[in-house]
Amino acid sequence: MQKIGFAKFAPEVDLVDQRSWVWRDGAEIDTILAPLWHLLTNWLALTAASSSGLHDYLGFHGKVVLSTVMPDELIDKLDRDRYFQLIKDLRPDATMVPDNYTYIDAPLYQSWSQTIRLVTFANDFLDLDIPVIGLVKGAISQQYVWSLQKQVDMGYVSFALPSRELFKQGLLDGAFLSARHVLERNCPDAELLFYGLAHPFRRAKASYSNLSWFIEAKHTRYIKGGKSYHMVDPEIRSNRCDCGACKGRTPVELLSLQTRYGKYIRTLALHNMLDLKRYLSGDKDG
């Protein structure tokens, strides 16, 4: 299986909100993650994207990775044939193995059956002619280890760890240790993507992807050094930023842009994305 080659930060985009399509404002991005569920809950967008393919729909010429992480209600609706049809229509450059749900406070029967489903899908997705990213999921460490080992045996080398809920509930370290345990011993060249992680959780060699940069912008929140601030927070309100979006303006000056056409949100989103990208690449000042 071919490696994806993630940069340190690969932004996720909102497929139905064009304000998150920051490449149109000049941002240089190699890879984006496109959540399939945004399309599944919007019939018009799905029709448009299916007819033209994701690249033309988004007007993006880099690498588009289809993310299959989605709400539980949608997971149950999709089978192998539907996934293959969607991938054929959307024509992404890479995709993830279909998501499952594994809760630590649900009966183990449910999480084991979901884990087996994930491994079955991973086997089915070997038939695709594009690179596929394995998923690190489980309710207990045995499930993480077993499903990851199976995917490594199938030849998967790129993995995504859906991290949002795990981090919020203090469970991410355990999941990461289980994944590292398998990958270091059996697939040392593997790459790991923390998917959906908003807060700085720095681990060497790992990559990150989230939509927080855009969600924060929609809530008029400003990211600096990986942390989110209110626009008029005394800590940042007068600090000039020299990123490609702010061009030397302070957050207060950005706030004065808030007028029509959503331009202000677009500028703020681009700033947040560039800041996270720089911060996660190692420049702590962002």
Binding site: P71, D72, D105, E165, K168, H230, G262
Partner: protein
């Protein structure tokens, strides 16, 4: 809307969403027996229980039990909490907003706000977060509507300030803020989003009634009356237009106009409802603003005069 995303603790995800702590227990039923028949909706089965309430199952596994519910010919609806209902139909399950919550969302999207801010508290010595859900209007009837809807949905009575001219009402609740924020009811200072995926046709009508009461306009024109919806936020207004289309109306394309407000020049976007659909608009959507109601009544008198066989508008 906060949705279960497949990892971690299920209980925490319910808690995050509704502050409820624990999902409804749907395991042992303690000897309850089934009453009446079983209704099939897609892959789901709904049973009425002898102890009252309903049991929802899928593939023989009970997935939920509810104290009350409403069975329609093509769907069944169970109330959850905070004005949210679970709809089960042949198309599957989805969470929808009650008409009250939809209308509240429409009011806030038009003339309200949903935001939080920090303030340094000198007495405490640290920053304190304030969560506010607001609505402002010059009409006391709309303020009363906002109060009534807030109480019906969240069981919270808004506080008021401003007695002359513009009246303002607000709820200070983190729970309300996050619930509406998850729906994207108000996405920015002048921006909003319609959670159409969580609205059935009744909810859509209620949302539009709330929105129109704030940002709608009924004016006299050479041909009679003109019904327009306007907003500064073009994307949001497009969603409003789309919602009208969903309900079978044929609104015009969005137009732009320039408005001078104090020293600011604003671009306002608007669209109108065609004259032949005014009567349907009045019957199905309407408005709660007194000036709108007066004009709709005048329009109704015209219809009565012009259509002797009709004249059923109330």
């Amino acid at each position: 809307m906060g949705t279960k995303m497949g990892s971690g603790r299920l209980r925490d995800q319910y808690g995050e969403r509704f502050n409820q702590g624990q999902p409804t227990w749907s395991g042992e039923k303690g000897g309850e027996c089934l009453l009446g028949g079983v209704k099939q909706f897609g892959g789901h089965e709904v049973r009425e229980l002898s102890t009252g309430g309903y049991e929802l199952s899928k593939g023989g596994v009970v997935v939920g039990s509810f104290r009350s519910g409403r069975i329609d010919p093509d769907r069944v609806v169970f109330p959850l909490s905070h004005g949210t209902w679970l709809e089960v139909s042949d198309r599957g399950t989805r969470e929808i907003l009650s008409p009250e919550k939809a209308m509240l969302g429409g009011l806030i999207a038009s003339d309200g706000g949903n935001h939080f801010y920090y303030r340094f508290d000198k007495r405490l010595g640290y920053r304190v977060s304030y969560y506010t859900t607001r609505f402002a209007s010059e009409d006391i009837e709309l303020m009363e509507l906002f109060d009534g809807l807030s109480e019906a949905v969240y069981d919270k009575t808004p506080r008021h300030y401003g007695k002359e001219g513009m009246r303002k009402g607000y709820i200070s609740s983190k729970e309300v803020f996050y619930d509406l924020n998850d729906l994207g009811v108000k996405t920015g200072p002048d921006e909003f989003h319609i959670p159409r995926e969580h609205l059935d046709s009744t909810g859509k009508r209620a949302y539009l009634a709330g929105f129109f009461s704030g940002d709608g306009n009924i004016s006299k024109s050479t041909n009679g009356f003109e019904i327009r919806v306007y907003s500064e936020h073009k994307e949001g207004l497009e969603e409003v237009r789309q919602t009208f289309l969903d309900l079978g109306f044929h609104p015009s394309e969005i137009r732009e106009s320039i408005r001078q407000r104090e020293s600011r020049v604003e671009i306002i976007h608007n669209f109108s409802i065609p004259v032949k659909e005014h009567r349907r608009f009045a019957a199905e959507i309407g408005s709660h603003r007194p000036s709108h109601i007066g004009r709709l009544k005048k329009m109704g008198e015209l219809w009565v005069c012009n259509e002797p066989l009709g004249g059923i508008w109330v």
